[in-house]
Amino acid sequence: MSSRTNISCLQEAKRVAIFGGTHGNEMSGITLVNMWIQNSAEIERNGLVIKPFISSPRAVEKCTRYIDTDLNRAFTPENLSSPDAEGLPYEVQRAKEINRMFGPKGSSDAYDVIFDLHNTTSNMGSTLILESSTDLFNLQMVHYIKKAIAPHTCSVLLNEHPQLKYSTTRSVAKHPIGLEVGPQPQGVLRSNVFESMRTILKHALDFIELFNSGVEFPPCTVDVFRVQERMDYPRDTNGNITAMVHPHLQDCDWEPLNRGDPMFLTFDGRTILYEGANTVYPTFINEAAYYEKQQAFMTTCREILAANAIRKACK
């Protein structure tokens, strides 16, 4: 029996975009989006406008993460409001274009939902990435997806950290969702990773269609991993790494890391231990693109988020 006062009435989600190629060498999303641009039958849903879109065509063409700067860090207020000028980095130009097409970020004209498709070299499995702990629509969608893919699993990463949160491509939309699947090397297309991503998106679109048709989703809880800290590699005075992720930590994304556990192994064979006071849950362990961002892995803590029942608002 649900109290009618605890149902959140939310606006219909009419316009949905699916971004691939925000990073030009993360192949699952690029392949899916190109496929759906050619033939959109699989992603069509009643009453929904669904736009598959390649975020960074030049990077995709060169099969490189970015041309001048990381597009998935480029959607800052400064960049989005910068005047059009010669010599702007490619990704800043692109961010402004994407903001015009799918935003403006923060306005009522913005797209309702953007799924941004990524791959990682880390052993993260399928991971849905949220930027807010209070976006009920997203929480309910994530809950729906997790139930739908069971017994397969999907982790949920929440990045609401004031310093570590970054201005993503998807942040242009009212409800941004990141979908990160790994492990997959950059420039490689693995069939299992591709199909996992495809299945998750199918369920996500089903949810949106159901929501728009008036279905009420009861209150739920979502287990999430909340971003705590970025851990860098040990480095020398020139900034070069002096150790690697320890074999005992490698591939152990989402598993507890306790004080005294091995964390890094130096090139000459010395083990460096994790000294933190509390148990943490590392993720993005040994992601290729993060060496230059001074990150060997991220620590997270486990949390349970609660979401009210939701229903489409009546007109």
Binding site: T31, M35, V188, S191, N192, M244, V245, E287, A288, A289
Partner: protein, 331 residues
């Protein structure tokens, strides 16, 4: 019966299993990393060896070892190459091409390395090059040599096979004539590419680094033992010989991929591929099968760098090479 030979397969008397071949000592060795700038195990093994050399001087290793960062510009940018794949630049034509303003960076660098470690084919060439590579394919440790007739390299391969047990250790021969051999290891008299995977490009995995370091140390160990007079017994070496490449299914006009490596083939490098076995899984859900009658062995399955070369995997035939016992030639 004793032979004094050059170490080549076509020397007389090989049929006699008791034959012992006397070969010259290996005086100079080079360990090369970063031939592809984003294959990081080799970059860090070379870096660590340089640090050890600074720390211990002459005593770092029992034989003189030169460490080389083959493609420093590509390493700095963590890219496979700047202008062109350097590990395709060591054939005679490229090594002797005139350098102009517009010559690719890697062609210049290849000629520099040929001067430093070669010249290829001459008596001045370094005795052993160990060129360190990574692959995104699940190839374990694969020792690649351009020829099947170099007994020293095959002996070292066998030695590594007995000593390294954590991952499969296999031998791959290309059988190119020396002038056509295009990879860096063909510059030296003996040598091989040490290819270890799976590792994503741009990543260094500790488990892979450890194996690569061990393989280099064991190679140095073998050379030292050989130079000191140890007799290494002959016998059979199982090897794989490159036959041909297979590309992905592609759209006939756009040339874009229409399938990926089938999940039942993914990560199964060097397995037995029989007629009817799955090769590719199309994006529309169909399985593309291996149609040929000849049973072959796929390798370099789903290597990131080979998409642009139109290669989904290579195919090899398994064969047995016979090598004589070897001992260092006394002066």
């Amino acid at each position: 019966m004793y032979l004094i030979g050059s170490g080549q397969q076509d020397d007389p008397g090989l049929e006699d299993e008791m034959a012992l071949a006397f070969l010259p000592a290996l005086a100079r060795m080079a360990v090369c990393g970063g031939t592809h700038g984003n294959e990081l195990s080799g970059v860090y093994v070379v870096q660590e060896m340089e640090r050890q050399q600074k720390e211990k001087g002459e005593g770092a290793w029992p034989i003189p070892v030169t460490t080389v960062l083959s493609n420093p510009r590509a390493v700095k940018e963590c890219r496979r190459y700047i202008d062109t794949d350097m590990n395709r630049c060591f054939n005679r034509a490229t090594l002797s091409s005139p350098i102009t303003e517009s010559s690719p960076y890697e062609v210049r660098r290849a000629q520099e390395l040929n001067n430093l470690l070669g010249p290829k084919g001459s008596t001045d060439a370094t005795d052993m090059i160990c060129d360190l590579h990574n692959t995104t394919s699940n190839m374990g440790l694969t020792l690649i040599h351009y020829t099947s007739s170099d007994w020293v390299s095959l002996h070292i391969c066998r030695y590594l096979q007995t000593k390294i047990t954590k991952v499969p250790v296999r031998v791959l021969v290309l059988d190119f004539p020396i002038n056509d051999a295009y990879n860096l290891e063909s510059v030296s008299k003996h040598g091989f590419t040490l290819e270890i995977g799976p590792q994503p490009h741009g990543v260094v995995r500790a488990d892979i680094y450890i194996i690569m370091k061990e393989a280099v140390d064991l190679t140095i160990d073998w050379i030292h033992k050989f130079n000191s007079g140890t007799v290494f017994e002959g016998g059979d070496v199982e090897a794989f010989k490159f036959i041909k490449s297979v590309d992905y299914p592609r759209d006939p006009e756009a040339r874009t991929l229409t399938a990926s490596i089938h999940p039942q083939l993914q990560d199964r490098d060097f397995c037995l591929l029989k007629q009817g076995d799955p090769l590719f899984f199309t994006f529309s859900g169909k399985t593309v099968k291996y149609e040929e009658e000849e049973t072959l062995h796929p390798f370099f399955i789903n290597e990131a760098a080979y998409y642009e070369k139109g290669i989904a995997f290579h195919l090899a035939k398994k064969l047995t090479l016979t090598i004589p016992a070897v001992q260092v030639q006394k002066d």
